[in-house]
Symmetry: C2
Subunit: 430 residues, 2 copies
């Protein structure tokens, strides 16, 4: 049986998963491909370091150039990540392998976000670029958008694509704990980074959304195009009100087609309990898609981790091997640059607004009149805890445009009787 050699750059989380899968399931994979996939070289920084997988000493190397330019290695898996937030090394290795006509696989969303266009244009006839593991780990969402939905106009995407924030929100609502408390626990358990900003502030989800929306809509969408708001201001009290109103609060990554524009946003969102995304708990990810032909489609699974992400990278290795054997490239990715990204202040949503007020007659009327002045109409209102000072009043609005909403909030904030606006959370109807 023929052997297809793979060069693996990096033996961290993802690299170890790929090593394990391609070795554990080696026979089954060989049967499917018609050739044996062999990881011939593994680039590491320190060959003497203790690893989670046992790789023969002779396979390990510290010579990147020797792997990337080896003519006997037609498939390169980039799994070095971004040491010190630097994507240069990964980009350079990938570019050099692509220019040498190789099939290059990565699960590195930052490299794709920063250098995607350059990498795509370096793909030669007979080579290819694959990145299923870059979004939502083991969930094959890249393949689904590229291939399974290729006949559809994708209308919208709503994704829970950051496991850390979903874990935090799930624990907060299940245990009635505060954000800071759950975050500290998640950090202690290794579910959240010591510097949690990338997850908690929505950066990670924004990177992934930019990638997904680019594939789904066929436009080159940058991470800067994505409106972004994190979960650190979500209070336990808001989760309780949300539950009472029939909603779960999730950090959603949303991309939506609206005529010739696209809306792109990552923000905490209230979704009805009956919605399939509402019950996605813990560190699970899910992507809910609406297409003009397929209707509603949801993919659910593990969005991160050595084995799930390894599963996605292994699938890319198998696809690459199929293409290599047939001497073809995967279908090219076409991207137009002509897309209007809708500015945030034009976006429409329903809103949940919790205002801290002095408990005094006339307060409601004053706030309601500010909403009215700004053309925002109120759907429902809850006031509990009479006699506290300040007291929370919760409003849920009908659909309103962000600009009007901000106008209303400015007016409300300026009222004498208003202590502060505690929370503003967007509400999805379906």
């Amino acid at each position: 049986m023929d052997v297809v050699k793979i060069g693996l750059l990096g033996l961290g989380n993802v690299g170890s998963g790929v090593w394990k899968i391609l070795n554990d399931n080696s026979d089954e994979i060989a049967t499917k491909v018609g050739a044996r996939l062999e990881i011939a070289r593994v680039l590491v920084h320190n060959p003497d370091k203790q690893r989670r997988v046992s790789v023969p000493r002779g396979v390990l190397t510290t010579d990147a150039e020797g792997v990337v330019s080896d003519p006997d290695i037609p498939i390169i898996v980039e799994a070095i990540g971004c040491p010190g937030q630097d994507t240069t090394l990964a980009r350079d290795y990938m570019l050099s392998a692509l220019r040498a006509g190789k099939h290059v696989i990565t699960a590195n969303k930052e490299v794709l976000a920063r250098h995607g266009r350059e990498l795509r244009s370096a793909v030669t006839d007979g080579g290819g670029l694959y990145y299923e593991g870059a979004v939502a780990g083991g969930i094959p969402v890249v393949k689904v958008f590229k291939e399974a939905l290729a006949g559809n106009r994708v209308l919208s995407i709503m994704g829970i694509i950051n496991g850390t924030t979903n874990y935090i929100l799930t624990r907060m609502s299940q245990e009635g704990s505060d954000f800071e408390e759950v975050l500290r626990m998640a950090q202690a358990l290794g579910y959240a980074e010591q510097d949690p900003a990338s997850d908690v502030d929505g950066h990670d989800a924004a990177y992934k959304l930019a990638l997904l929306a680019s594939i789904a809509f066929g436009h080159d969408i940058q991470v800067e195009d994505v409106f972004r708001e994190g979960i650190s201001r979500i209070k336990l009290e808001d989760l309780c009100y949300a539950a009472e109103l029939g909603y779960a609060v999730k950090l959603l990554a949303i991309a939506r087609r609206d005529g010739d524009s696209v809306e792109l946003a990552v923000h905490p969102t209230m979704i009805p309990h009956g919605h399939p995304l509402a019950s996605v708990g813990g560190a699970f990810n899910a992507v809910f898609i609406r297409g003009d032909a397929v209707g509603d489609l949801m993919l659910y699974g593990m969005g991160a981790g050595m084995m799930p992400t390894g599963s996605a990278v292994a699938a890319d290795c198998i696809d690459a091997a199929h293409n290599l054997i047939r001497r073809v490239s995967p279908p090219r990715e076409v991207r137009s640059n002509h897309v209007r990204v809708k500015p945030m202040d034009e976006m429409e949503s329903r809103y949940y607004v919790r205002v801290l007020v002095v408990d005094r007659p006339g307060v409601m009327a004053a706030i309601a009149s500010e909403f009215g002045r700004a053309q925002v109409s109120i759907e429902s209102l809850i006031q509990k805890g009479r006699g506290q000072d300040p007291v929370s009043v919760v409003f849920v609005t009908h659909r309103a445009c962000e600009r009007h909403m901000q106008d209303a909030l400015r007016g409300i904030r300026a009222l004498d009787v208003v202590h502060s606006i505690a929370s503003v959370i967007r509400v999805e109807a379906d």
Copy 2:
């Protein structure tokens, strides 16, 4: 721009969907493929019949041979279904197109179940067989098993893959209606066939499970290998007890690896409310997969209908066009014949058993001792409605083997105080 011609056999539900999608989204698809996909000929029985889509008269033809053997038409979509339960016509057209080196697409599960091996072996170099639409409509479950999970050993599959039965069970539990009543309503609305046996008795789900399990496990699994039990004996009372115990009742298609054996079954199943399958309502389908690398993965969407199934067939057309342009076949499907299908009486499960008894002291003890004699241990017991005659008593057992369970049921049925065994439903723990 190059044109790739497609011959469409049949213009019913699926055929109309394919026509609509490939025409509505023609420009976007052409950009992705690098060639224009054109349905050049459409085979119909009666060209004068009123259709849901408007096809130019010159495209319609009644000459099947003319379409299938046209050398300018390299892609054939078989969408004629099984007129009179007969798969011969579809098989013959497909075989003849495959032997002519064409790419052949179908959404016809019966043809695949009956003639799959013959059809696969007729694929020539440069041709291919595609059937994404044959299972779970718009949900790309075939592609996920073939490609996205190619690096995994699939451990188990649990699917809600028949929309009609899921619709019936959902309405029964939401509205508190009886099976017969909901079935009549579903028939009136066109959600269920006038002869509902294929759906209600689990035949449809068994066909689909055989196809999915064949791909997932790489074995040639026949529909006869699948144990099958339908939903017609499910009573509203059982749904109420299930809900009280924290379970939803679904018709599940289950395939599970156990060493060198596989378990294959379609039967009503109680699943805990927290399980992602439990909230799959109405006519939606979902497939819950466990892989050794990916962990748990679920795909959810519309399992039938003109547009969702059309979406799957359109994706196959696009895959076929990519392959055609590159002059390659899709990866071949490898099937071993060496698989042991576990006989039903070796399978293990927890069980829900509702027994109608004479309400009299000592009844519980008599039934419990029959369970004990057969080595089945009881986890919980509910008796309500004292004083009725007969009265329902519900038992939930720990894991037991089907053979022991059948032994227990024989013993219980023979007891004087037992009127009848009203229901036996398997219970999935996770």
